[in-house]
Amino acid sequence: MKANGAKRLVLFVALVLAIPAGVSRIVPEKRNFDSRPLEILRASQPQLVLIGDSMLESRIDAQLLEQKLGKRVAILWNGGAASACWYLMIKNYVVPSGVRPGRIYLFFRDRMLTDSTFRTTGIFRPYLESLMRVDEPVCRLVLGRNAQEGRGGGEKWVTALYPVNGRRSMQHQRISEMMFRALTANGHAAKGLERRVNSMFEVVKMRGEMMAESGDLSDKSSAPFDGDAKASFLPHIVDLAANAGIKLTFVRVKRHAQADGQVVQSAALHTYIVDLRTWIENHGCDLIDFTDDPQFTPDMYLKAEDDHIGPWAKARSTEIFAARIQQEGRP
């Protein structure tokens, strides 16, 4: 009787583990690559492409910038984007779109360009994966074991046994899209609802502490600048642009300033930026640093201790940017 029970238990465990493994292999391996930005770039044929995160979105009004510069402008941004996403945006959107913009402006803060794993896991993972093709060798190289899943250790084994485990962020996206469609009459209305949801949860509508978290930066790090291609996406971003014949300018935004308009920077960060500039310029690119620009005054920022520019100062911020790049002859 007990032997029968033990056999049944073994059969139970084996079936429970094996059935999902079998089903998991039947599901086709297809990443839900988001091709919409590709179509937008092809349709708008921009002469300048601006890439960044919510810092870019809060600072630049694309229409106003077009008016000021007299050039077509496209903005590729996402609130959870960082260097891994920016690399993929250039690789999988700008370059394959066939559009050859005169220049790409890449907006960043402090050490983001070399902080390779920043915003590549957890809630940031779905967006990162929406930018990925089936295989991304550079992501594998730079992020290492994090490239496929965002977590190390046993995840690799779980994914080997159940391949759907590695694609589950896509399942959530599918569920979300299915819900948009189910709640609306047609595809157009579904897109509208998606826009309203995204707008409702924009970073600028979050509480102070959440905004600080979303704008979290490793500014406490004292690590020196490292241009190693295995350590960060920066060399790959530069190579991509150079191979595509696109000029590249990195734009360091001014973080929240003190009452006197100055930004506090550690000595280590200052050294890092000097080394970063040298590296960037040695590789044929430019760096515009707004950190010491007195035109960005504390009243332009959304909240104290926050790096986002308030909606009331977006036009002003756009004008400052337009004037600066015109003055430096880079548009």
Binding site: G5, L15, I19, S24, L183
Partner: protein, 468 residues
């Protein structure tokens, strides 16, 4: 160590292999050692207050039995030590913060002392369990444990150490003293229960948590979006906490130990009192037996009963966290229970249809979850003044989307509630041929595992009740 990690599964496999190879005494010693490894895995110093609590309460309980003339002294020493532990780690910072706020009102110099200690996980759970044991010994309901490792196991048994259930000595100690027999049927049900717990935590709780967290991060939420977030939190906290309990009970069953049921479909409750008979049963029964009844319970005048209720629920709120919103949440339930007592004297409860009672109780529970989730009292006040009439169509559209998502993720919970809470499933399955029952169990478990690997949230968080 956390349940939803591969390290835990590896740890459990090793523990099970050693455990079933040992005799009973050896099994208990091994479980104590394993529990300490589990608890001290990330923060070894967490073991110090656990050991202190174990030794003091073990000695006090023995003292109560051996020196009857001083039994009251031993009782209060034990309770005092437990309260001191809680006060030091959990409430000192809160007390100083409030005292400083009060001093500032009177333009007095604030206290320089600050207390920002890390709260050892599960402290509130194991101190309550220890207090329960010493009081039970004092009342003569259980005999004091002579063999220290048995008592150490009672306090530290790893499946329930961090977030309960808060067990009773009368239920656990006889199990630790008895010989355990490997039972494949128990293993099958234990593994199924663990799988269901993992599914609730990883697929339901963690996914709806993303919605709740976003809504509660908004600085100016609108009425419909806020309440969609509250609904998400209601699902999250139930799936999270009951998921933990299921994993704990499932794990214990693999070790031949049966833990008490901590949840009984709380969202099917028909009144506030019914809710507390179904939600966190081990805490509510502990509070009833060790606070409410000693205060006089319901066998006194109306005013005293009201005070007893408010006090008991106030303590329940404070047990959850050193923050005014938890106190407010506790008092809210106290007043609801009071209101229910007043209404029960009328014919209204009898005339109200069952479904309406469930809907009203669920709505009241959700309102309570707003107080529980939102720490900032000013924000709570602001949230409660939001009007549904000022929200625009966009806000309602977004809320509809959020509610639809929450409903979708909560669908397995709803099905489970219908299948096991409303339909007489046990009777039906008992009539099924054995092989059909086995096939159904395999199918459901395989589906749960497939759900975990397919739809597990990409952003896993700790169990909510770890912070208490």
């Amino acid at each position: 160590m956390i349940f939803h990690s591969l390290v835990y599964l590896l740890f459990l496999a090793i523990v099970l292999a050693l455990y079933w190879a040992l005799p009973r005494r050896g099994q208990n010693l091994m479980l104590v050692a394993a529990s300490y490894v589990f608890y001290g895995w990330e923060h070894p110093w967490f073991l110090l207050p656990l050991w202190a609590s174990t030794l003091v309460d073990y000695a006090c309980a023995l003292g109560i039995e051996r020196l009857p003339a001083r039994r009251r002294l031993f009782l209060w020493t034990s309770i005092g030590a437990s309260v001191a532990l809680l006060a030091t780690f959990k409430y000192a910072g809160f007390a100083i913060e409030n005292l400083n706020a009060l001093l500032a009102e009177f333009h007095a110099e604030p206290l320089r002392a600050t207390m920002r200690l890390v709260l050892p996980a599960g402290l509130s759970f194991y101190t309550f369990q220890s207090i329960g044991y010493v009081v039970d010994v004092y009342m003569g309901r259980v005999r004091a444990v002579r063999y220290l490792p048995d008592y150490a196991l009672y306090v530290s048994f790893f499946p329930q150490l961090v977030a309960g259930p808060i067990e009773r000595a009368g239920h656990m100690l006889p199990q630790y003293r008895a010989a355990r027999v490997f039972n494949p049927v128990d293993w099958q049900s234990g593994l199924s229960l663990m799988l269901w717990g993992f599914f609730k935590k990883l697929v339901i709780a963690d996914n709806v948590a993303l919605i709740a967290n976003k809504v509660f991060a908004l600085s100016e939420p609108t009425f419909p979006v806020l309440w969609a977030g509250v609904l998400a939190f209601a699902v999250q906290i139930y799936a999270d906490f009951s998921g933990y309990t299921d994993i704990a009970r499932g794990t214990a069953r693999l070790l031949g130990i049966e833990l008490m049921r901590n949840f009984n479909h709380p969202y099917l409750a028909t009144s506030p009192a019914d809710f507390w008979r179904r939600w966190h049963i081990s805490l509510s029964s502990w509070l009833r037996d060790f606070i409410y009844i000693p205060l006089g319970g319901s066998r006194c005048g109306a005013a005293r009963v009201a005070l007893n209720l408010i006090l008991t629920f106030g303590i329940s709120g404070l047990w959850h966290g050193a923050s005014w919103n938890y106190v407010l949440w506790g008092l809210y339930w106290g007043f609801l229970s009071l209101g229910q007592r007043l209404l029960s004297a009328t014919s209204l409860p009898r005339l109200t249809p069952w479904l309406m009672k469930v809907a009203i109780t669920f709505t009241l529970t959700c309102a309570g979850w707003l107080l529980f989730r939102e720490r900032d009292l000013a924000q709570i006040a602001h949230d409660l003044t939001l009007s549904p009439f000022t929200a625009d169509a966009d806000a309602w559209g977004v809320a509809r989307y959020l509610i639809a998502l929450v409903t979708l993720y909560a669908l397995p919970l709803t099905l489970h509630m219908i299948v096991t809470g409303l339909v007489r499933t046990r009777e039906i399955t008992a009539r099924l041929p054995e092989m059909v029952g086995f096939a159904v169990q395999v199918s459901v478990c395989a589906l749960l595992l497939l759900g975990i690997v397919t739809a597990r949230s990409v952003a896993t968080s700790d169990f909510i009740y770890f912070q208490f």
